[in-house]
Amino acid sequence: MGKLDEKKSILSILVDNKPGVLSRIVGLFSGRGFNIESLCVAETTDPLVSRITIVTSGESRVLEQIKKQLNKLINVIKVMDFTDLAFVQGEMALVKVRAKSEHRAEILRTVDIFKARVVDASPEYYIVEIIGDDSKIDAFLSLVKPMGIKEIARTGTIALAREKK
């Protein structure tokens, strides 16, 4: 019911860089039954301010409520919704992929195609670092999956709005 209207949204939230702020934001999502698909946090150039990037999805009415609720938090300075804006997004992943000798060349080729790089190698595994939007990372993962992926760490999406040209 109502799922037709469901859409994905990238929210970029500037907050006071203080203990407990992230927990307020996350608590707001969990307490109201909103879903978080990914979440990234780090300090900005202003050490008093952090940027939190959250990917979430829901009906437009729910998204509107999420944004309003976020704005209502005392430590939230600004909420930007990139859904209808021009923006740049990216994600980084570290992938520990099994590197049997017969697969090594294939893996390196794939790494090359995706402009990823091998950041660690051991007799049995490579660790590959890949940067891009989530679909690029997904595509890379699907290609190396048959060789055997041992572990993945993904940062989740970060995003910034483009400036007018």
């Binding site: 907050v15 006071d16 307020r24 005392i74 600004k78």
Partner: protein, 561 residues
């Protein structure tokens, strides 16, 4: 000069204009108490921390000031949670100070440690753990600013013991400014002409008000507005008193136990002007059937309230009083024609609903609870501050006591918290020593914070408690009667104390009425003494509150008897 953290707290409280604190001491706040007794701040010692918060809540609502509590760490802090949640739901400005174990022990499961900031995060407007004494004064000033501005609410400050002992040279705070917090008071001026236009087109407008009208002190402007547009008015439970019940345009409360005419009006109106309400499910019933024929204007200071439950034609984010002021100014320049004539068919229709389905009950040879409330209204000439517990007592108070002024009806609306009314009455009595304060109670709810009778007696507070004693958790019993085949699972409270003796045991006055003829007499007697009184009215056991809208039904589908 160097001050300790505790002294800074006292100084900040005084600068914020605080004169009364409700609290309960303990190890973690000993230094604060030690500093407190050396000031002229009044401290009211309650008997349970939940009582402290509800009392501060009643104090805040009766006085329009910020209510303040002080409790110890651990169990003291957790005992405040229900009161904080109640104040949060009803947007009551409070500052709650909790003691905390010394900074070095935080996170170590120390004796009487709880993460009260974590626990209360979802039910405070904001909260703080202060870790640096240099930050203490600023934090307190921010807390008061946040509690009372915008949509008011409770703010909690957690104070580690070493912090209140630490000394610092004091630098006064001149002004509080928060980078990220700027409530919108002024409505968007483009929206207001839209309201005027809708008002001109409407044939059946209805004004629907809530607690926001009272919080923003908008009653006067509301009256002017209503006089101008000559539209009928209904309100939520929290809005009672925002518009005078003696005005001919008053319809009574709307919602699950709203009057027939108020609920029917919401079904038939073509324009609903909602002011300071949040469309609670107890008001709207089934949301897709709420005001189905109406364009909706919604004025509220909190953007999250708008379009949360109900689609809105004209959303206006702003303070209710300022918005009404501007609307009134705009209407001043408008010719609404012969408005009284234009409204006649609509008001006639409402009058007919009223005359065919009035609020009513039949008095027999057993005392009816409604009769008690009516008598209380009559004998106090409607001039008392009424607090309530939760349940049928609360609804009968809302239906049969009529409020002409704001800040006279104090009830736990959003949380519906049993045990609220009596401590709230204590707080209201302290705020308004010259007023008559009555807690209309159920026999179940009063037992939740009855221990505060000791507080009332200790501070010579002449609060009156009127127990509508039906021997049941009446409201729940009513649901069982109507929706669970009369299976009264654990709602009978046959084992209750003798409330008259209980009052006496505390040093208060106890009175009882078992027959209708005795009701008037004991109310008069209670009103004549300057002491706390419990009136035990032995009322009809299985009386129900009507009208009633079953949960999830449209509010025009009422059960009437």
């Amino acid at each position: 000069m160097k001050l300790t953290g505790a002294q800074i707290i006292m100084k900040a409280l005084q600068e914020e204009g605080v004169d009364t604190i409700f609290g309960f001491p303990g190890g973690a706040v000993l230094d604060i108490y030690d500093a407190l007794v050396k000031t002229d701040l009044r401290h009211v010692l309650v008997r349970h921390e939940q009582g402290a918060v509800h009392a501060a809540d009643g104090y805040a609502r009766a006085s329009g000031k910020v209510g303040v509590c002080l409790v110890t760490s651990g169990p003291g802090a957790t005992n405040t949670v229900t009161g904080i949640a109640s104040a949060y739901m009803d947007s009551v400005p409070l500052v709650v100070f909790t003691g905390q174990v010394p900074t070095a022990l935080i996170g170590n499961d120390a004796f009487q440690e709880v993460d009260i900031v974590g626990i209360t995060r979802p039910c405070t407007k904001h909260n703080y753990l202060v870790k640096d004494v240099e930050e203490l004064e600023r934090t307190i000033r921010e807390a008061f600013f946040i509690a009372r501005s915008g949509r008011p609410g409770p703010v909690l400050i957690d104070l580690p013991k070493d912090l209140v002992q630490a000394k610092t040279s004091n630098r006064p705070i001149k002004e509080v400014r928060l980078r990220s917090y700027h409530p919108t008071y002024e409505p968007n001026s483009k929206q207001l002409p839209k309201v005027v236009k809708l008002l001109k087109e409407a044939k059946r407008p209805l004004v629907f008000t809530g607690g926001g009208v009272i919080l923003s002190k908008a009653s006067e402007e509301l009256r002017r507005f209503v006089a101008k547009i000559h539209a009928p008015v209904t309100s939520t439970l929290m809005g009672l008193g925002g518009f005078p019940a003696s005005d001919p345009l008053w319809l009574g409360m709307i919602g699950m136990h709203g009057t027939y005419r108020a609920n029917m009006s919401s079904g038939e109106c073509d324009l609903l002007i909602a002011i300071g309400v949040r469309f609670d499910d107890r008001v709207t019933g089934r949301t897709d059937a709420f005001a189905p024929n109406a364009k909706i204007v919604h004025i509220d200071i909190d953007p999250t309230s708008i379009r949360k439950n109900i689609p809105v034609t004209v959303p206006i984010v702003g303070d209710c009083r300022i918005t009404l002021e501007k609307l009134n100014a705009l209407l001043e320049t408008e010719d609404l024609g012969n408005i009284k004539e234009k409204r006649r068919p609509w008001l006639d229709q409402i009058e007919e609903w009223k005359s065919t389905m009035p609020l009513d009950y039949e008095q027999s040879d057993v005392i009816k609870p409604q009769f008690v409330v009516e008598k209380l209204y009559e004998l106090t000439r409607g001039e008392a501050i009424i607090t309530t517990e939760v349940g049928q007592n609360q609804m009968w108070a809302a239906q049969y006591y009529h409020f002409d002024r704001p800040n006279c009806f104090i009830t736990s609306g959003g949380l519906g918290c049993m045990g609220f009314g009596f401590p709230a009455a204590i707080g209201a009595q302290i705020a308004c020593p010259d007023k008559l304060v009555i807690d209309i109670a159920g026999d179940g709810s009063i037992q939740m914070n009855i221990q505060e009778m000791a507080t009332a007696v200790q501070y010579n507070l002449p609060v009156k408690v009127a127990i509508l004693n039906n021997g049941y958790l009446g409201m729940v019993r009513q649901w069982q009667e109507l929706f669970y085949d009369r299976c009264y699972a654990h709602t009978e409270m046959s084992c209750a104390p003798d409330f008259v003796k209980l009052a006496e045991a505390y040093g208060a006055v106890g009175l009882r009425a078992t027959k209708p003829e005795e009701v008037e007499g004991i109310i008069k007697e209670a009103l004549s003494v300057q002491r706390p009184v419990i009136m035990d009215f032995q009322v009809e056991k299985e009386e129900c509150v009507y009208p009633m809208v079953p949960a999830g039904e449209p509010i025009t589908e009422m059960l009437l008897v």
